[in-house]
């Protein structure tokens, strides 16, 4: 008769020790207690000091100031804003401006970065050297230096509105900023947008269908003629049936300034140019590393399978390179967003400048305002890195490592 299997010895205490103190055991636990006590003590000191100092300097505390009237103007706002609006409105204006700079900067930085990164690997010696020189010179100068250079030296040296540089008499570049025709929505706008949306959705559906067919039955469906027909045809049809979606208000020079048109403030131009060229240099290095990480054999294997050069690039090289490029690329996007806070140096009304700059100096509530500002940037970073770690997890899962 088989004897009953012995129960394993009680792991309770060992487990508890591990949970409370890690490998260091009870010593680690004691260390933790001391650590927390020290932190609590520091926290208490900070809290007590802050309260005493705020009382001594007669600074209000709490978030009540958010509903007070701001009373200062903002040079660029995506949403209606006037001086009688509250500080919370100012916060929103600044946040939207930050996001605007970030999005526009990211688009340009990506385009320039990919061009330069591919250029550095070009078989053409001169192109590779020029791209390398660009990366080295831009990366080794401080970003603030570049922002100030573009803003003070380059844009400051532009002529006044009367002598502005014009392109087709529709775009005007002067020291008052870039003035471009302003699109005005017409009656056909809604129909037009709806047509575009339908075309895009239909194209995506078509692509999904083609992929399914490819993977299930091995049928190759060429979809790009249909997609182009959809994307071009449907909106064109909408324009023909419902009339033009937008008309443009051409800026006119009146007196010493422009009337009409859309004015892009010079601060925005300088910030976007500096941020995107600076970040592009880093993106170029990431792109180069990504492409170089794909082994030469992959290209040769694709060719030996009978794929064309384009198909090899599209189906074999780019997906593998993107896996390497994407995480540092997101990091660069984050850096660009964080660096957009340097707008405060040239007075572009981004989140940091209007909130931690003007609002802070008006209300004096440093703790609340800096905490909110830091919180916003922190939130953006944490959400992005959460998405990235999810992406990395999926990649690792699909590779089975």
């Amino acid at each position: 008769m088989a004897t009953e299997a012995r129960k394993p010895p009680s792991q309770f205490w060992a487990r508890l020790r591990g949970i409370l103190g890690g490998h260091a055991g009870w010593g680690g636990f004691a260390f933790q207690i001391l650590f927390v006590a020290a932190l609590a003590w520091v926290g208490y000191e900070i809290f007590a000091n802050a309260r005493a100092n705020l009382q001594a300097q007669r600074i209000a505390s709490g978030f009540g100031f958010l509903s007070q009237t701001a009373g200062f103007g903002v040079s660029q706002s995506l949403i209606p804003y006037s001086e009688t609006d509250t500080y919370s409105r100012v916060f929103l204006v600044g946040l939207l401006n930050t996001l605007l700079v970030a999005v526009v900067g990211i688009i340009f930085a990506t385009i320039i970065g990919f061009i330069v990164g591919i250029g550095r690997l070009s078989p053409n010696w001169l192109v590779a050297r020029i791209a390398g020189g660009y990366v080295e010179s831009v990366r080794n100068l401080p970003l603030l230096f570049q922002i100030l250079f573009w803003y003070l030296a380059v844009l400051g040296a532009l002529p006044g509105p009367r002598q502005s540089i014009s392109l087709f008499d529709k775009f005007f570049l002067s020291n008052r900023g870039l003035v471009i025709p302003k699109p005005l929505g017409e009656g056909g706008l809604q129909v037009f947008l709806a047509a575009v949306a339908v075309a895009v959705i239909a194209s995506i559906a078509l692509r999904i269908y083609a992929r399914r067919q490819l993977f299930k039955r091995g049928r190759i469906i060429v979809i790009w003629p249909y997609v182009i027909a959809l994307i071009v045809g449907l909106p064109a049809l909408a324009v023909l049936s419902a009339g033009a979606p937008v008309t443009f208000e051409i800026p006119q020079l009146k007196g010493f300034n422009f009337s009409g048109g859309l004015r892009i403030v010079p601060e925005f131009v300088a910030l976007v140019v500096a941020l995107s060229t600076y970040t592009a240099a880093f993106i170029a290095e990431n792109v180069r590393a990504g492409i170089m990480s794909v082994q030469k054999g992959q290209m040769e294997a694709g060719a030996s399978l009978g794929l064309s050069h384009g198909a090899t690039l599209r189906l074999i090289v780019v997906p593998q390179a993107m896996r390497v490029i994407l995480p540092p690329l997101t990091n660069q996007y984050l850096n660009l967003t964080k660096n957009s806070s340097l707008a405060v140096a040239i007075g572009y009304p981004d989140l940091f400048s209007v909130f931690a700059g003007t609002t802070l100096s008006q209300t004096g509530q440093a703790i609340e305002i800096i905490a909110i500002t830091m919180g916003v940037y922190l939130l953006i970073s944490l959400v992005t890195s959460a998405i990235m770690s999810f992406y990395g997890w999926r990649i690792n899962r699909s590779l089975g490592t």
Binding site: A157, S341, A356, M374, L378
Partner: protein
């Protein structure tokens, strides 16, 4: 039939083929690397045009059309110079001292020069791999030099030494802990719940009693401090007592009479060195005249901020990296939160935090110098970034290394300090240099919080109407740009050099 059975032998020479296109020499190079296809030829032409448009105006601006001599803006105006004017170098000459020293008083500038020279003398042998005595050199540069530099640049003297300071700090700390205990006790008295009241009272009383006991333990130190103050030469008496105490402790801790002699001599030599520095700089007699940090500026501030940031961020980074890999849960959570917090916010918010929030967190009678506040912020910020770099290095050290060390019977601290950390740091030298380059560039941000670093001085110099010409701005940017570029480019090249040297065994 005969002809088919005979082997074919060629009678006449085959016609000469044309030599293949040369792939060497300038022509061959141009053919293979520049004009090998129509697309590439087009790219080459575009590239040449681009370079032409960039380099020629640049040379004209910097050299050919530049004005080299003059005393004010008139020299740099096109109508006076008689040709289109490029860079206005007299502007840089006039503002050079401001770009380098800021408003540092003229008669005291030798101190700044001496500091720069000392740093260069200590730094160069450290960068040359073959130079001897790396450890001593590094210790001098990273430990001794910062103190010397502080007393050189800021000035002032000492009123005591380690015994006095530790007596002061400890008694203040213990007093503050005792206060907290007393507060807890009084909080307990106001509680409604009897259990909570009792717990709080016990906790408070316990802390008060512990702090009282600690005060008695510190008493000998306080007594020594009073004695050295009474001796008339407080610095020297304190230094002697400290040297004696520390050297004895080192002697007995490292093996006593059996093998403690060498550490004893090292310790005494270090204290003798400290004594010599104190004597030479006259720190016991008040030292050099104090130059307030508000007068500092230009390259001086840029270098002070970046070097201090680099030196101070290293221990922070090592501690955070170890904390993040620690198995003690709360330490790990704290390190992760700390690192992610600093890495998630822009540096400029950190500088604002240091400038506007930090003074609120400190006791009201305790004011911190503006430069020091910024330095604290930058050290924490750079520390968080360094921590991630160092963590990468720690992960690259194979597990077997620490397991082998444990099998040899080394403690956790010795395993980390002697086996794992040196290998990890070797791995991450290039990464660290990169983060130092980033830090060096980021120091330009201090100009936003009203410190006049190189960029801040440049911006301030633009406001001078004496030099207001159309090309002043470009000249200033060109000059500062070259300085920044030289520093960053040198660092990045050095990092590449080290990387290649470290990877010698891996190169195929």
């Amino acid at each position: 039939m005969t002809s088919s059975s005979e082997p074919f032998v060629r009678q006449e020479l085959a016609p000469e083929r044309r030599a293949p296109a040369s792939t060497t020499g300038i022509i061959g190079f141009a053919r293979t690397r520049l004009f090998n296809s129509p697309g590439n030829a087009l790219l080459t032409i575009v590239g040449v045009l681009l370079l032409w448009w960039i380099i020629v105006p640049m040379l004209h601006f910097l050299l050919f059309d530049a004005v080299w001599q003059g005393s004010d803006r008139n020299a740099c105006l096109a109508q006076n110079a008689g040709h289109p004017v490029g860079a206005c170098w007299p502007f840089v000459q006039a503002k050079l001292s401001q770009f380098i020293y800021g408003f540092y008083p003229e008669p005291e500038r030798w101190r700044v020069n001496l500091t720069f020279a000392l740093a260069a003398i200590l730094l160069l042998p450290l960068l040359i791999p073959r130079a001897p005595a790396k450890v001593t050199n590094a210790a001098l540069l990273f430990v001794a030099f910062p103190f010397v530099a502080f007393f050189l640049l800021y000035g002032g003297g000492l009123r005591g030494f380690a015994v006095g300071w530790s007596a002061d700090v400890l008694s203040n700390l213990i007093g503050s802990i005792g206060d907290a205990g007393a507060k807890l006790t009084s909080l307990g008295l106001g509680q409604q719940l009897p259990v909570a009241a009792l717990l709080l009272k016990w906790l408070g009383d316990g802390i008060v009693i512990a702090s009282t006991v600690a005060l008695y333990l510190v008493f000998p130190l306080a007594w020594l401090q009073r004695q050295s103050l009474a001796s008339g030469q407080p610095v020297w008496a304190d230094l002697a007592v400290t040297a004696l105490l520390v050297s004895l402790a080192v002697f007995f801790l490292s093996g006593g009479f059996r093998n403690g002699w060498r550490p004893l001599f090292t310790s005494l030599a270090i204290f003798a060195g400290i004594g010599i520095i104190i004597a030479v700089m006259g720190l016991d007699r008040g030292g050099l005249p104090v130059v307030d940090s508000r007068l500092w500026g230009g390259l001086l501030v840029t270098l002070v901020v970046s070097v201090t940031g680099i030196v101070a961020s290293m221990p922070v980074g090592v501690a955070l990296a170890l904390g993040r890999r620690s198995s003690i849960p709360l330490v790990r959570i704290f390190s992760v939160a700390f690192i992610e917090f600093w890495r998630g916010v822009p540096l400029i918010t950190v500088l604002f935090f240091a400038t506007y929030m930090l003074p609120l967190f400190l006791p009201g009678n305790f004011t911190v110098d503006g430069l020091l506040r910024v330095l604290i912020g930058i050290a924490l910020f750079a520390g968080a970034y360094n921590a991630e770099v160092i963590r990468g290095g720690l992960q690259a050290v194979p597990r077997g290394q620490s397991e082998a060390a444990q099998a040899l019977g080394l403690s956790h601290a010795k395993t980390t300090g002697l086996i794992v950390m040196p290998q990890a740091l070797r791995h991450v030298i290039p990464g660290l240099v990169n983060s130092f380059i980033a830090l060096f560039k980021d120091t330009s941000l201090v100009s936003i919080v009203a410190l006049f670093d190189l960029l801040g001085s440049l911006r301030a110099s633009f406001a001078d109407p004496v030099w207001a010409t159309p090309t002043t701005l470009f000249t200033g940017f060109a000059f500062t740009g070259i300085i920044y570029f030289v520093f960053c480019f040198a660092m990045s090249r050095y990092s590449l050099f080290v990387e290649r040297r470290l990877n010698v065994h891996r190169r195929s």
